[in-house]
Amino acid sequence: MKRSLVLIATAVLMAGCGGGGGGGSSTAPQQGGSPAKVTLEWWHLSTAEPLKSLWAQRAKEYMAKHPDVTIKATVLENDAYKAKLTTITQSGKAPDIFATWGGGVLRQQIDAGLVKDISSDVADVLPTFTPAALSAYQFDGKTYGLPTDIGLVGFWYNKKLFAKAGITEPPATWSAFLEDVKKLKAAGVTPIALAGKEKWPGHYYWAYLAMRIAGLDALKQAATDHDFTKPDFVAAGQQVKALADLQPFQKGFLGAAYSTPDGQSATVSNGKAAMELMGQWAPAVQKDSGKGLGDDLGFFPFPAVEGGKGSISDAFGGGGGLAVGADAPAEALDFVKFMTEMGNHSKAVESGGVLPVLKGEESAVKDANLKQVATLLAAAGGYQLYLDQAYPPAVGQQVNDSVAELIAGTKTPEEAGKDITEVAKSEG
């Protein structure tokens, strides 16, 4: 009795394990000659219009062209997407096609053998992309994804509220920026909206200040020497603190999310705060989450810090790309190429949902603010990917966490530097 019980348990266990590693795809075995039915799992996080419908439209068009292919899209909001993708990749699978930011997170997935090396298959189309757009998906000369979007983080501001506070032009230096924050407060306007509950929007402040004060190379070096306690990094932390000490954020910002009806985006969108530091998708999300500012919405790049080693032309941000799971059928990559073709991709650019990733696509940008972003991007001296994507996940999340603590006032700039260093060393 006992033995048969163990046998059965073992059999069940083995059956359970044997099922793994099959990849997210449900490809029927190829029968010679006639094309087999293929189902592609596509995960992305474009939950806001216009991309939401545009991407669905692309999938429909592709399926019409290829009747044997079915594309099953899973669309999730940012945090949920990250959580679900982490869970499935740790179980040893990856969706056939999935949205990625590239950087350290993609690197970890590549090292685990979950992402297809598409270098040779995309060799023909690679030259059509701008190098900045591609950089986040290339490691050691190999390509693991194609970009659908690239942009940068900057301040999106409400022109009317700036005028109300008597600010005639956007600040070009950090000290002018802090002065403007004071002016806005004095005029009874909440200067900045921030989603304190989700920590990534806060990390933009520290990341940009670190870039401006310590320079791009210092951030790159920190990835290898794991030292975030250097004076320049602490100085960046002190400036974050200096800003937070002015109490520039909306009421209850520590509990606010980004895209919820009372979140960071909606607060700006409904004219309740004068600005937010956010990426190129900010206008689209604003329209989605609130009334929208229309022509009152303006953009200015993150100001220069006096005496800093970084240049104002250095850009911080990222885009979005599509990577292909290691076990995905050939159609998966074909669809990614289809998505990023000039004819198809420029439609998404025209809609204002994404920025150009292909050479010569700039003319498709219609919106004046996005045009400014695209111009800045084209002229960018250096480019830094979001720190929570560029560094390994544990370090990136610790940056987010420590900056949140700095802003909440529970940690000093020195302690924040020490905490990040400790985690970076633990990743080794």
């Binding site: 019980l5 266990l13 990250k82 685990a112 509950k197 509990g255 009372d262 309740k272 544990a394 529970t410």
Partner: protein, 319 residues
């Protein structure tokens, strides 16, 4: 007096079967147990073992089983962090608040609804309803209600010229969280107490009243002692729930602002799924498991001993 209460002792046990029939019965029992046993091994025991195993490795969760053995480093690291201490503190605070406020409150409501008052069935249903909602729905509901800018709670308070940042302020987040927990769970404990109360024979209460006991004395010396087993089980459930508290916190605050409402389960989620240090997260889960286990064993051994006599402590042997 105690002879009036029907306990497990009163249940009649069948006479022992002859040896052969007993053996046949064991096979039948084993066969019936098999599916449940296999599921239990696969879904409960195996993951626990894997968690114990991976807690002594440095592992990012990718690719087969971990291989980079680091001994107890994950544990020493965990015990050295400030956040772990905070997690324990939050646990203690919530347990104390639950036992000292939430449960007495539930008991009071249960006693109230045991009286003959108009519409008590309706009250019972209404008070129990929050327990039926899922934790996620409760979380979303209260993040809307407690929103500092546009939430219902602040609009109501503003009538009295008050307002609060609720979940958005490190100083008010724990009381706010406890408020939501209480809203969700007081109905459940109320139901347990009501059921317990109804098992107390009315003769006892009547006898006390005839002897001239005031209603407080009746409650203090008759109802409360006889509700003992019920109260002990309700404290037990409440503490175990608090050790594992996750969903509600995750939806409401994600442990913030800056860790001020973080629980052990939230810390584990953060390291395991957001930061890909699965070995370290496993160590956290092992600590949680041991904490629950030790509490459960100690509590059952010393506090619930009488209530469970014959069920767990004596392995079901005949007395």
């Amino acid at each position: 007096m105690t002879t009036l209460i029907r306990g497990p002792e009163a249940v009649q046990r069948p006479a022992p079967a002859p040896a052969a029939r007993r053996r046949g019965r064991w096979v039948t029992i084993a066969l019936f147990l098999l599916p449940a046993l296999v599921l239990f091994l696969l879904l409960v025991v195996a993951p626990i073992l894997v968690a114990f195993y991976s807690s002594v490795f440095r592992w990012n969760g990718f690719g087969g089983l971990p291989s980079n053995f680091i001994g107890l480093d994950n544990f020493t690291r965990l015990f050295g962090t400030e956040i772990f201490g905070q997690d324990l503190w939050h646990l203690l605070v919530l347990v104390l608040l639950s036992v000292c406020i939430q449960l007495p409150f539930s008991l009071a409501i249960a006693m109230l609804l045991n009286q003959r008052i108009r519409g008590r069935a309706l009250y019972r249903v209404v008070f129990f309803a929050p327990y039926v909602l899922s934790e996620v729905i409760t979380g979303v509901l209260f993040s809307l209600i407690l929103s500092p800018e546009s939430g219902m709670a602040n609009r109501l308070l503003s009538v009295f010229g008050l307002d609060s940042e609720w979940l958005a302020n490190p100083d008010t987040v724990m009381p706010s969280l406890f408020l939501v927990m209480t809203w969700k769970y007081f109905g459940f404990h109320m139901m347990i107490y009501l059921a317990g109360r109804q098992n107390i024979p009315n003769e006892l209460i009547e006898a006390a009243q005839i002897d001239g006991a005031t209603s407080w004395k009746t409650f203090r010396h008759i109802t409360l002692p006889l509700l003992g087993p019920t109260i002990r089980i309700s404290v037990f459930l409440s503490v175990i729930y608090t050790i594992q508290l996750f969903d509600l916190v995750w939806i409401l605050t994600q442990g913030g602002p800056s860790h001020s409402s973080e629980t052990m389960a939230v810390t584990m989620m953060d390291w395991g799924f957001k930061r890909s240090q699965v070995g370290y997260a496993s160590a956290i889960s092992v600590v949680m498991f041991l904490l629950s286990l030790v509490f459960a064993l100690v509590y059952q051994r010393f506090v619930m001993r009488r209530d469970l006599a014959g069920a767990t402590t004596s392995m079901g042997e005949r007395r």
